[in-house]
Subunit: 326 residues, 5 copies
């Protein structure tokens, strides 16, 4: 009977001369180290097969600390050197859809095998498989350390591509000057910041792993590959930092526009008020019902007052002009 | 007679073959190094037993500098290498209840014993005890350095769990856009920041300890375990940093909303004022009591004025519309 | 004749077996290295005794560069390795009174003596003297490096204590929400920041000294003691950093409250204005003196207008209610 | 037939005694290492010649990993140590025109050749060619490592010159105090920040390359040249940082001016309103039509009221004066 | 004939036994290394003597790379190790007058000479000359490395002194609370920041040089002197950082005062408006000319209304009092 574990596991075995790729069978494929100079790459999708994991660990005489590690499914990012293997836990953001859920991946690596356990279906490793099957490049000449390098490089490249796809910064500063200073714009900016932050966190996670791998001492392992990876991650990190700064610029612009609007609004109100308040007061004066207001009886009193109001208005306007209020 | 110290102290002794767990007795258990390849773990709850501490130090021929160290009960975080022992002081936040009080812990560690002195009752070490009693995993094969690693890992995991429990950041950005920009919201944000800060401080304290432990040179001590711990703390620290940034985003949003509200309020006032001020002025003009105001005698003066007012109003509204004020 | 220098200098000499403590005499005590395995600790209060300093340097065959160093009385923090001595300059804040003046201290240290020159009277070293006289702890077994460690530890502990005494942060966030957003509050916050800054500067000065001492190579000197000191300073530095962040939180709160107040004030003004401006305009209309205003002659014109005003008011209030302005 | 590749490739070969400079020919020049102590410098403009690249790699027995690297044309900044060569990818900003487009450059370097592949036509290396042709300085005595140093130094100097040309900071603070606080000014500031940011990113890219080169271990390579480069980049980086801070100062000034303007506007409005509101109210009182208002019948009621209004006005003005509102 | 170069160059030569100090002569003094254990210090004021520089380089068999370096007169800060000499370029701020112009200095240093080329006349090295001539201290016992140390120390001390002279921070926080929140104050703060920034840049330049000198490997050079210099620079840097923070505090205070003023202004306006708006409305009502307004005919209507207005005013004032608006 084929177990669930076997249904969700594939094995690839290759050497310079040959390779095979097939569904995993607990009977035939359980030995990860073939002791014939071939490299084995096992992929398991799903974390719930603790029984089979135990069988794998025991049959391959792996460090039983591994079982404890596999039980803990919310591991974050970690590199643990076991006796002759390396255990790597990586929290990967899945870039397939736009809500950016994350996936836990585990790698058990020795000099001649990589066992990769992924929380969720699907990965971005098909181009590696193609290189193995078609014997492209040097992968079939190299050991498992090189395969691990390829896997991690794929994760990083994927981050890079998706980051550029999802975080479009072009001409935002331009746009910012045209927009209304509504909280919706700020919300958009802060949301973009949060998105960038997720990539940053994931990149730093991978960087921590890679930094650790550079200092690892497992026999048959060349750490120089991992230096390459660190530089790739640095490239992404630099992009993230500069985009973050651009968002800060937009926030500054936002507040400057908001402040400018307020100034414009208040100037409008003040100019109107300052011009009309004295006029309205004057009209109020001559709307009073005192019996003895001499001006009211002047034949041209009304026109004199209108003239006076005109003069007051013109003076106000000139003063505002001089102060460059409009 | 059983002393208070003995009432608050337990001893666990284990080797690969056997173990025991009992109340501490000053007569039988005072020697911490059993010189028979067993590991001893003593837990004391309470810092006030200086007499017994002195007895312990003298009987075990420990460095008498220890007594001075134990007298100082507000130690913060420290690792001190004594002659053949290690003294560790850690200020731990107690996560049991929500006001996050802190607890001072001391560890006196040598190659074959761990003496743990806690300021307050209760700890999170029961799962370690279970692993010792049930001989799970590799703990009974290992020395006291591995036990210390387990104890510190427990403290870190506990921080992680409680942090995730207490600091819920979900959908805060969303919420922030809907809320009123009252100081209460800002108070809540800053309070959350202070809570995060406490975890950050505690994490940095543990990180300092772990960094120090990695560089320690005590015979029979493997420092590689402590590298693991540093990576775990880094994971927590990263979470804290990204949550802190999210709170900063909320503060920006807050001020943007507050500014936006002010703009809206002032626009409303200005539009109303600008429309009505000239109208009211006109009404004031024709409310004056000059004897000679020709317009007042026009048969349709009133209606002409109403028409003029309508025109002024429409023009004002059109100007505001053009300036996109509403 | 007893010189001023002698009046302001004390000498303590100790070995495991014996000790003495007396006023310094240029005749008897001028040799700092007793060449009999005893440790000498000389304390001079005052920097103005250049003649005697020269005599000391020459008689003890100290590096004459020392004289140049002692001439420069505003040294800041410095560690200079001389041929077989160490010269340490430390700028110490005096915590005795609340204006935090600072004091320059110099230490000339070799393997068997510490000559401490303080700018001002008084120090916190009495507990060290007590330990020497009473032969407490291990100080009389150790060399001058241990004495230097004790002296520096005293300075650091003193900073810690005084910092906690002077910078009370408790419940400030709470208080901040209740206070009026006046510049006085901001002034208080920024003053507290400046106080914290002084402690930070002093701590960093000591940290620089301690870092330097850890890398010093003077014969008969153990640098491990100084690692302890660095960790103690780190503890204080961490406290300072977290208090600084809390002050930043208060500043944010301050501005949020200030902004909120402004919004409240402006809303009040706007609501009142928006409600009354149209009413006042209507009253103005019917206060005009046109001969032909038909409404004025309606028997119930006044009451109709009052009703209309009521309707306009109710509508305004409903609109404000809907926009949640109050 | 001459291929496109050949049309876009030049070769310079030099030794202390002689040199030549000619169009590249795949037949004659394909061997990069001449094995006669001469240094070869090949420049290719354009990245689309994969066939010829393959031919070059195979004929020179270069690491075939190079082909994969050259395929990836969006490489950012990278240094990869191959077997006996060095692969350098640099993302260079082209400073020829003001929109600062960028260009990818690749360098394949061994002890006796530099193969430089540039994405776009034109470079700033002519002065290096002149030094080779005229045998100026020591370049013809040195190996390819020195040529690479010259090439990178040219890129850095070019950045420096163009940075100083494009980012003019002179007297900006002065200007800032005179300008209107419009969003256009802020837009200009933030645009300048974005420009500076591009230079910063490019400088950091080169710095990463240089840092990596300092640690490279390729035979026949002296890494000390690259230390020089790092210091040159640091100089540029320092300028960038200080200009960035100056822009921050301008932003602060901007907001302070904006706030000041608002204060001025609101003060004007408030002073006018506060002075006239009571006066207008008084006028309104005596404009009422009650049959029994005794004051209206006073012979000097009007003048008494005018006097009262004058007194109220003077008092208001005095109060404002005392509060230093104007 | 005496050349311009000779007119602007002085030479000092010293050994423990003797010294001379005279105008430089190209005939007699051209050899910098006297090969008789004396130290030579040449000072040239002016960078325009390329012909003589070439002569100096050739005659002394210095690295001809020096000529290229001297041609580039805008060098910033740099340390270049030549074959047996050291080339140092330092951009020094001239503190003589208050606009802080800068000066390029070059030092060509070997084990027995220092050739110092300064862009502008005048330096602060006279006290070093005095120490040489008077044989004070140990300078005449030491090699050129010690002379270089003295020269650099002079530059640093000069920075320190001038910094303290020019950047007076005393009681600024106090002053800030009393001042008007005008942009002029902000301008002053930002100008002080820019001044501090210049010192910071210059200090960092010297620090880079000193850091580099500590790692230099030139024969006959002791690098320990340069550690001293780094600590002196750190002292200045710390002062700069803390002053910068104080300026930030002032900016916060500024904005808090500005905001407070606005609040005060708006409160004043709002209180006045809210009190008078209803009163003015009531007056408007009874100023209407409807034929039938019963209240107008009440014998005490006017007084009832005045009473009503008083009640409304008192209520308004009580409400404001309760809200603590004044
Ligand atoms: Mg991840
Ligand atoms: Mg994926
Ligand atoms: Mg990069
Ligand atoms: Mg981008
Ligand atoms: Mg911000
Ligand atoms: Mg900002
Ligand atoms: Mg602005
Ligand atoms: Mg706990
Ligand atoms: Mg979270
Ligand atoms: Mg991590
Ligand atoms: Mg985590
Ligand atoms: Mg903020
Ligand atoms: Mg905003
Ligand atoms: Mg003191
Ligand atoms: Mg103190
Ligand atoms: Mg700590
Ligand atoms: Mg505290
Ligand atoms: Mg702030
Ligand atoms: Mg706020
Ligand atoms: Mg360029
Ligand atoms: Mg170019
Ligand atoms: Mg520099
Ligand atoms: Mg500049
Ligand atoms: Mg700022
Ligand atoms: Mg301001
Ligand atoms: Mg100077
Ligand atoms: Mg000078
Ligand atoms: Mg210092
Ligand atoms: Mg100062
Ligand atoms: Mg701030
Ligand atoms: Mg404020």
């Amino acid at each position: 009977m084929v177990t669930d574990f076997e249904n969700n596991t594939w094995v690839i075995n290759y050497s310079l001369e040959d390779y095979y790729n097939r569904k995993f069978s607990l009977e035939e494929d359980i030995l990860l180290s073939k002791s014939n100079k071939t490299i084995t790459w096992v992929n398991t999708y799903g974390l719930e097969y603790m029984d089979e994991f135990r069988k794998m660990v025991l049959s391959n005489e792996l460090d039983d600390f591994l079982l404890r590690l596999l039980l803990n499914q919310n591991f974050g990012n970690k590199v643990i050197e076991l006796e002759e293997q390396l255990f790597i836990a990586a929290r990967i953001i899945k870039t397939e859809n736009h809500n950016l859920e994350s996936e836990q991946m585990f790698f058990v690596v020795a000099k001649d095998f990589v066992w990769c356990i992924q929380e969720k279906w699907g990965d971005h490793f098909d181009w590696i498989r193609a290189r193995i099957f078609d014997n492209k490049g040097i992968i079939r000449k190299k050991k498992a350390d090189y395969l691990l390098f390829f896997i991690l490089e794929t994760l990083i490249s994927n981050y890079k591509e998706k980051y550029e796809e999802m975080v479009l910064m072009e001409n935002m500063l331009d746009r910012a000057t045209k927009m209304e200073p509504t909280p919706e714009f700020m919300f958009e900016v802060e949301n973009k910041k949060a998105l960038i932050q997720q990539f940053k966190k994931a990149s730093h996670g991978l960087r921590d792993i890679v930094n650790r791998l550079e200092r690892v001492e497992v026999k048959g392992f060349h750490t120089k590959y991992f230096s390459e990876l660190r530089e790739q991650i640095n490239g992404l990190t630099n992009d993230i930092d500069s985009d973050t700064q651009e968002l800060e610029s937009q926030i500054n612009l936002f507040f400057s526009i908001q402040g400018h609007r307020l100034n414009e609004v208040m100037k409008t109100l003040t100019i109107f008020s300052v011009i009309f308040i004295p006029l309205t007061f004057l009209a109020g004066i001559y709307g009073m019902n005192f019996e003895n207001i001499p001006e009211l009886k002047w034949p041209y009193g009304y026109f004199v007052l209108l003239g006076l109001m005109l003069v007051v208005t013109i003076i106000s306007i000139l003063i505002f002009k001089r102060k460059k209020w409009f």
